[in-house]
Structures are given as C-alpha cells and as structure tokens.
Amino acid sequence: MTRGHMTVQRASRMLAVVLLLIVAATAAVSLAASTARGKLVLAWHAGFASRWLDPQEHDGTATPDNFFTALHDALVKNQGTALYDHPALAERFSVATDAKSATYTLRKGLTFHNGDPVTPQDVKFSYESYRGAKADVFKSKTERVEVVDDRTVRFVFKEPFLDFAILFGTANVAAPGWIVPEKYYKQVGPDGFKQKPIGAGPYKLVRHEPGVKIEMEAFDGYYRPVHVKQLVMQSVPEAATRVAMLERGEADLIYNVPGELIAKVGKLPGVTLAPVLSGSFFLEFPNFQDPKNPFRDKRVREAVSLALDRRAMNQAETGGMGKPTGNWINDDVQYAIDWPEFPRNVEKAKQLLREAGYPNGFDVAWVTPLPAFYSRGERIIAQLREVGIRGRLQTMERGIFFQKLRGGLKEWPGVQMILHGVRIAGSWSFWYEANFKCGGSNSRDRVCVKDLDAKFEQYEHSVNPAERKKLAEEIQRAILENYYLVPVFRHAFVNAIGPRVIAQKWQDVFPTITTGYAYPWEELKVKE
C-alpha cells in the first residue's frame, strides 16, 4: 500500500467520523429542541411593570423573580429547597475563609438568547452597573471585580462580607448576580432593554405587550432541558376572571386565589390548589416605650397575643391553608428560629390586663393593616374587643401606608397598632434590619430596643458563623419573649394548577420554598 493511499484512507475515515459527529450533534440539538412541547399560560394577578424584566433595577421585592427566572439567569440562586446557593450559570463557587473574596466559575458553553456567549466580563458588568435593591451595600463593600480567566470571576471585598453569598444568591432580595449581556444592554440602553430583554434564562422573549402579555419560547441553548415550548404570562387583575380562565382551560396556572374563591376552585375537576406559604403577618406597637402607652407593659402586649385567635384568622382568610406561627420571621431564611404557636387564652389575657391596671381595657386610636388586607385588621379588632381592647380600623392606600411607615413615629401618634405583612428571603437579619432595628428602612424610630440593636451590631461585625448564629437566636428569642412584635400567622399565597399541567402534587409545580411562584419554569411539563 502506498503512503498516499493510506493518507486518503485516513482522511476518509476522519471525514466519516466528523460527519458522524455532526449528525449526532444535530440529532442531539434537535432532540433537545423537540423535548419542549406544548403551551403553558399563566394568569398573573396584577399589572406588569417593565422594570420586572430588568435585573439591573431589581426593586427588592419578591415579584420580579417570577419574570427573572424565565428570561434571565443568575450565577447562583434560590431554587427548590436551596435558599441561595443553587448553582445556575456558575457550576461552582467558593467564598474565601476570611470572607474577603468570592470566586465563581461559569459553566462551559453558556450563551444568551441572541447567541452571544456569557462571559466573566458580562458578570463584571452586571455587578458593577447594578443599581437595584441593596446596590449600595454591594458597592460600599466591594473593592473590585476580577476576571480571572474566560470562565472565572472573583469579587474582592474591602472587609469580610459574610452575607455576600446569601445576598448575592437570593433573587427576591437583590439581583447583582443576575447576568445581562453587556454589549446588548449598552446598545439598547436600560429602557430599550426593558422592552426587549435578552437574557440567559430558560425562555426567550417572543412578544411583549407592555402591561398586558409576555410571550416566551423555550431557549434551546439553555443548560438544562426545558419542557414546555411556549410560556405565556398574561395580566388578569380580576380574580374571578382568572378562575374562569382556569375552569375553561384558557389558563394552566393562576396566581392568588382569594379566600372567598378557594372553596370553589378546590372543587373544580382536575384543578389542584397550591397554597404556598408566603409572608408573615405580625403586630407592631409604635412607640410602645412611651410611659403613657399601655403597650409599654409587657403584660399588655402578652394579653394582645393571648386574645388573638390565629387559627380562626387563618381559616377565614386563607381557607386554613396558611399557618399560625410562632416566629414573625419566616422559617425559610438563615438563622430563623422555630417557636411554638402562641396560645389563645382570653381569660388569662383579661387577667393580665387587670394586673397591668386596665381592668376595663383601653382604647387604641387606630389599628392599621397592610393594604389591602383590611379584613384581617377587622378580625383582630373583633378579637381584641373580647378582652376589652377597643380599636378602630384605619385603611389607606398602599403607597400612603409605606410613606407613613417611612415617616417614622410622628406619623403614628398616640396608641396605635400596625398589622404588617412581610416576606423577605435570605437571612433573618434582613427582617430585623428592615422591620425592627432603630433606624431601619421600615421601622425607623417606631421600635427602638437598644440592647437588641447593640447585639445586632455585634452580629453584623462578627466573622464567626457560630457566634452570629448564637446572636441571631438570642435576638429573635428576646423579641418573642417580650412580645415586642406579636406574630399572627403566615399567609398562604393560594395558586391553582389546571389539569393540563403534569404534577403529582402541587409542590411539583411550586418546588421553590422561598417564593410563591412556579419556578424553575424549565421543569414544568404539560400534557400534549
């Protein structure tokens, strides 16, 4: 055999192998593409805000993750039972033992919806140009972002930043770790991006009718299989219309079934209710330290707790699907402590009030519930009346409520009670910081317990996880034992799943414990 003949033979073999590889790759791609089938329609319970499509302007609430998790992706995120460290675009990450840096390694072959590769430079851009919730915290603590190699990026901090990983990885707290394509973002600008966002998430945008509808299609280049081909999110503010859509098969998922419709939806054939535990409702006594304020006496605050019928509240407000709780902080955050459900004992409550010098009870100027949960405020007023505490309901528009919260004590003169409803993921400290700390973003100067704030300061500066955990538990215990805040119950965000969605139980569709929404979207399946 000649040498030339051998070369030709080898070349032919190589060509055959290459062809085979191409065929196999094409088959694999088409197989991946063809796994996504069908259409899923979500009836969303409110309007749409365009900023919810741009992680760079995360508003610090739970709402945007419903959209981020479809269109975009993060390095790590909260998903399933992982509170903040589910590997997503990053296949792994590590935080230095001194907590002064964190290193993330991207998966291989990641692309955005427009085909551009996801690079460490995009990560750096997304982090550095991020201007949403907690941006000031990240900026003040970060010294620099280093692109280590073509898949690795390192965040270097000025001081130990123990909460970095948890803040960075919790979608409903902040989003500097949600990656946007630098080139495209700069090209279209922030407002243009909000109209036509391009991300690296499981779904790419097909059509966006601002405020009305978002149509998406499975992204073949996603690193996980995406099962449903078309995903449509439609704004349907009226609850009865959402239920009718589900009943008629026009929607496969509906969010926020109100209490009065829960029983009806539960009886629909093939429909499954999904009562996702959500925000925690608790009572606050503004200015309780004032000597003239009856709530200054711990016995009075305890009497309030004893007067509450939490189970009746849960039954009436969420069809019994919520959870009467012991702690005012959700149990799905770091260092939250378990606390038994507070008992109801009207007689003991009356006795405590007598001992505190209020045998005939007293008047509360206003009981103000978080808008628009007015019926919960009414129930609390009715329950407190049984022990002689006479309150009047104050209702206000949501924006005004937050404005007054931010206004501090001067906005809540006299004897008042506030019924809060809060959901924050990540860490217990975010709850304390916003709703209890003196000077906190919502608590302002209404609640100031100096010794607990001092402990919290210690917690913030500690780099010892064991010490932090101990302090976190001590602070939470002190709040509960002293009834500084009185937990009421944990609200159920009741959703419903239509018969076309493949699920054995509702948790298959709502597996992420830190949210009320149905992500990860790529895991959902519908019948043909």
Binding site: G47, A49, S50, R51, H58, D59, G60, T61, G132, A133, K134, A135, D136, P190, D191, K194, Q195, E209, P210, G211, V212, K213, Q234, S235, V236, P237, E238, A240, T241, A244, M245, E247, R248, E250, E397, R398, G399, I400, F402, Q403, R406, E433, A434, S441, N442
Partner: protein, 306 residues
C-alpha cells in the same frame, strides 16, 4: 360664524388648560410616586436619586410648565412604570379601545333606540313598562357584576365565548355587551323622551290629521327629528367608553386605555394618568366643538344667541 367658531375654539382651549392643571395637581396630591418605584428598603439617597431621575425634585410650577411645553409638542412624557412614551402606550391601546367603544356604542344604539321608540309610541302600555324596566335595570346593574355573570354563563357554562383578553371577534362580544348595556339604558330613556316630545308636536299632529299611516308618521317625521339628541349623546358616550371603560377592561383583561389608566392610578404613574386624561379631554372637547359648530351651521339661531 367666524366669531362664533373662534369663541368656541377659545373656550375649548381654556377647558383643556383647566383640565391639564387639575389633573396635574390631583395626581400629585395622591402622594410620592417614588415610594412605589423604589424598593421597600431603599435609602433616602436612593429615593432622591429616583426623584431626580424623573424630575420630581423640581417645583410643581416648573414641572407643570415642562409638562405643558412637551404636551404642545405632542409629547406626553414617559411612563414611570412602562418606561415608554405615554403617547406610544396610548396609541398602542387605542385600537382596542376604539373597537370596544364602537361595538358597545352599536349595542347601546341597537338596544336603546328601538326600545325607546316602542316605549314612546306605546306609552303607558306594558311595552312601555317593560322598556322602562329595562332602562332601570340597565342603569342600576353594576357593569362589573354584569361582566362576571356574562363570563360565568357564556364562557364557563356554555363555553361559547373566551373569558377575557383581546383576539378575534368573539373576545369583543361580552365586554361590549357589559359596557353597552348601561349606555343602552340611557339611550332608551333619551330616545323615549325625545320621541314623546316630537310626537306631541304640532307638525306630527298635522301629519296625522292628513291621514298619514302611523308607520310613516313615526318613521319619516318623528324618528328623524328625535334622533338628533340621541346621536349627540352617542358621540359623547363613545368617547367616554373609549377612554374610561376602566372596570369592564379590568374584568375582561381587555388591553385598552381604561386599563392603562387603572394601572397608572395604582402605580402613581403621573405621566401616564395625565396623558390619558388629557387625551380623553381632548377628544371630548374636540367632539363637542365639532357638534357645536355643526349645530351652528344647521341652525343660525344658535350662533346668534350664544
């Protein structure tokens, strides 16, 4: 005639100016929109930054002057919530609202006018009583309730029509019926009273004395004259339906201007609310102006007495 037109145009402009100032003040009296735009835990510095970004840190007179200056150039500002020019959003939604408004107007005319005529012609008979009953129901049944009942019956039970949203002709039927129902009642009442007035007039009596058949008297002599106020009302109703069908659009998730206004109000989206109200005002004032001028052309007494 020219003086009359100039005067009417001047009145219209003053009306629009008053409207713009009123809506400008009212939306600002509802509170600070920045609290709804920024995250719950935003610092004061963050809030100030957002205020500056949207020009809300300037004094109200300066903001109003800027708004009016832009409005004269046809620019109604940029929506806080959607980050799009308000005019773009408005014209995106306008075709849907026009479709809904025209369909509802048609329904209100088809129900209200014939029923009003029959009621007037058969006055104080059971026909009249039925028609008056329909008018009473039309005016007293809330649109949101009727909408929900329609959804229940035609979408859920009978499965004939889609529950909500916009798409083909089937999507329009229920919202148009729910919206047109109320206006049909007012049409019915106006047609009835207008017909009764015309039927009692001298020229109708003369026509009857001449021995003309009732059908001819009603159709050719009474009906034409009685319709003038009815169609004037229909025109104004159409503008209201196009711009302010808030509840019906929310119930049926209809992507129209009313829902845009609703979302704007809830989000304290000042530019959006101002823009929608100004456009609605512009339409109403414009239609009234045209009607006034047409009246003046038809009836010279009007331009002489006003």
């Amino acid at each position: 005639m020219a003086r009359f037109v100039v005067r009417r145009v001047a009145y219209s402009l003053v009306t629009l100016l008053i409207l713009s100032a009123t809506i400008f003040l009212i939306v600002r009296m509802t509170g600070d929109p920045v609290l709804l735009l920024a995250e719950a835990s935003a610092s004061e510095e963050d809030l100030d930054r957002v205020r500056h970004q949207w020009g809300l840190d300037r004094s109200w007179p300066v903001q109003y002057a800027t708004f009016m200056q832009n409005a004269f150039m046809g620019e109604l500002g940029k929506s806080f919530n959607y980050r799009l020019p308000v005019s773009e959003l408005y014209f995106q939604r306008l075709p849907n609202s026009l479709l809904l408004g025209l369909s509802a107007t048609l329904i209100s005319l088809l129900i209200g006018v014939p029923a009003g005529i029959v009621s007037a012609v058969k006055v104080n008979t059971w026909w009249d009583n039925v028609a008056k009953g329909v008018a009473l129901l039309g005016l007293s049944i809330p649109g949101f309730w009727l909408g929900l009942v329609l959804i229940l019956v035609f979408s859920v039970w009978l499965r004939w029509l889609p529950t909500s949203g916009a798409g083909d002709w089937r999507h329009v039927i229920m919202p148009a019926l729910a919206l047109g129902w109320y206006f049909a009642a007012s049409m019915l009442r106006l047609t009835r009273s207008s017909m009764l007035e015309v039927l009692g007039s001298e020229y109708i009596k003369l026509a009857r004395l001449k021995g003309l058949p009732d059908v001819v008297v009603i159709a050719l002599h009474a009906f034409k004259n009685a319709l003038i106020p009815v169609f004037t009302l229909a025109g104004v109703n159409l503008v209201v339906m196009v711009n302010a069908a808030v509840i019906i659009e929310v119930i049926f998730a209809w992507p129209g201007i009313g829902r845009l206004l609703y979302e704007g109000i809830f989000q304290r989206d000042f530019p959006l609310v101002q823009g929608v109200v100004i456009m609605a005002g512009f339409m109403i004032v414009g239609i009234n102006l045209v009607v006034d001028i047409l009246y003046a052309l038809i009836d010279p007494r009007i331009r002489l007495t006003r």
